[in-house]
Symmetry: C2
Subunit: 116 residues, 2 copies
């Protein structure tokens, strides 16, 4: 099912603000806490905390540049996260399909014995 490490990644990308931040870092390239906060409805400090969380799980890494800290997405780690997303999706999808097959089988056997 899901391990502790998986849950860390999940909870990291589960937050809507952090998802948007990853989106921004991917679409606009590396950015700082201040630059990100300008494009988000939260303060710089909130962004800074989120960056710390994402950094801890390895989804991004910082690169000090003078007085700024440039954050950048770790592509390999994000690829891993995406893989886990699709894995859960695939699991649920498969179970939904199985349930549907069973439901259809029941429906068939019910209509088969309808004339009794």
């Amino acid at each position: 099912m899901s391990t502790a490490v998986d849950d860390e990644l999940w909870s990291a990308i589960g937050d809507p603000t952090r998802r948007t931040m990853i989106d921004l870092l991917l679409s606009d390239g590396p950015g700082t806490a201040t630059s990100l906060s300008r494009r988000l409805p939260v303060t710089r400090q909130a962004v800074s905390k989120h960056l710390a969380v994402l950094d801890r799980v390895g989804l991004i890494h910082a690169e000090p540049a003078g007085r700024e800290r440039h954050y950048q997405v770790d592509e390999a780690q994000l690829a891993r996260a995406v893989a886990q997303l699709s894995a859960v999706g695939a699991t649920w999808d498969a179970r939904l399909r199985r349930i549907k097959r069973i439901a259809e089988a029941i429906e068939r056997s019910r209509t088969d014995s309808e004339g009794e």
Copy 2:
């Protein structure tokens, strides 16, 4: 990007306990707060709250049966959630690929001008 409705679905399936609950409801069929709590590391009340959350966003629905309340996954809604999961995954995947292409292009132009 992400709408408010999307975020509701996300935060619903973002919680590890709720994800496991959905897993259990899919694999073992309908269940009650008590039956689920027996297979989870949390109390019945915690499970009950999660069930309420999942019910509010429509991912599951309850069916009162005597003194019990049987909860069951809403397949259509879960299918929608899965679609959103894979949508985000696909977006990030595409951006990762684009970044990789750009990086390779830069690498090429760098090695081209290496002999100067």
